[in-house]
Amino acid sequence: MREALDQWLFVYAAYTIGVGGTLLMIAWSWIAMKRAETRREKARKR
């Protein structure tokens, strides 16, 4: 018997990975940048 696939499940999975991965990357790189710049400012003031 042929397996019935719900195509929308594959679309949801791809969008979750694509959008989630992109948002995580943006958040991580933004936070890392702000932390590094704060560290530089602290080093300057020391």
């Binding site: 594959f10 679309v11 791809a14 969008y15 694509g18 992109t22 933004w30 932390r35 080093a43 020391r46």
Partner: protein, 240 residues
């Protein structure tokens, strides 16, 4: 161009360009994905899964574009020895890796309903997987070179050599038999229907802006780390 290679000028430019690129990219990407998700009809052959196109294709192009940026920056670093070029290469590595991984994951998800399999070891999929491994190796090599105080020329040479894989990925569907379709968009030509081309174009622009914004954010972080480290080292030497 050399003017922007000055870290002070670069930081002045990047301070307003980073949030602008990220915000613009997020708005355009959200609009393109909403358009593709809700307004585009199902494809005659691929059905509803055609909507994966709007994530898979931009991330595939940027996965390859990221390594091209590494190769160009590495060449600039090796020829002109400008440290900002080495920082630009390192800045492009992480977003390039993330997009290559998203491309592989969404491609695998797309493959199951259309090809009947999650994965095949053909030229296109294997060369894209090799690209992801090259990114991981480059990131590890660049971090090790910085930590051990080794010349940044070693990751730069690796970045240049790794670029051999880019034309292999691009031509793989032409050179070898593959389940993957041949190139749908070539110079000035498209085999994709206009109804899919609109959201795809907006998604490519949106993801590209996000890529640019993340590269600038990574460069600012790397530059700030180097500057903080240099200042702390100078203070320590003055104290001695």
């Amino acid at each position: 161009m050399h003017g922007f290679a000055n870290p002070k000028r670069f930081l002045a430019l990047a301070s307003w360009l980073t949030p602008l690129l990220l915000a613009g990219g997020l708005v355009l990407t959200a609009a393109a994905l909403f358009w593709g998700f809700t307004q585009v009809p199902p494809d005659r052959l691929m059905g509803e899964t055609v909507r994966i196109l709007f994530i898979h294709v931009p991330t595939a192009w940027l996965g390859m574009g990221g390594w091209t940026a590494i190769a160009v920056s590495s060449l600039v670093f090796l020829v002109w020895r400008h440290p900002l070029a080495a920082i630009a290469a390192r800045g492009a590595a992480m977003p390039g890796l993330v997009f290559a991984l998203i491309c592989l994951a969404t491609g695998s998800i797309w493959g199951r309903p259309t090809w009947g399999t999650w994965w095949v070891w053909d030229g296109r999929l294997t060369s894209m997987l090799v690209l992801a491994f090259l990114y991981i190796a480059y990131i590890a090599l660049a971090q090790a070179a910085e930590r051990e105080g080794v010349s940044a020329r070693i990751p730069a040479i690796f970045g240049l050599l790794g670029a051999i894989n880019i034309p292999i990925i691009n031509r793989s569907v032409v050179w070898w038999n593959s389940l993957h379709q041949p190139p749908s968009i070539t110079m000035g030509k498209s085999a994709i229907d206009d109804i899919f081309l609109g959201p795809l174009l907006v998604a490519v622009i949106g993801f590209s802006l996000i890529f640019g914004g993340v590269v600038l954010a990574r460069m600012r972080a790397l530059l700030a780390d180097i500057q903080a480290e240099a200042r702390l080292r100078r203070r320590a030497m003055e104290a001695d």
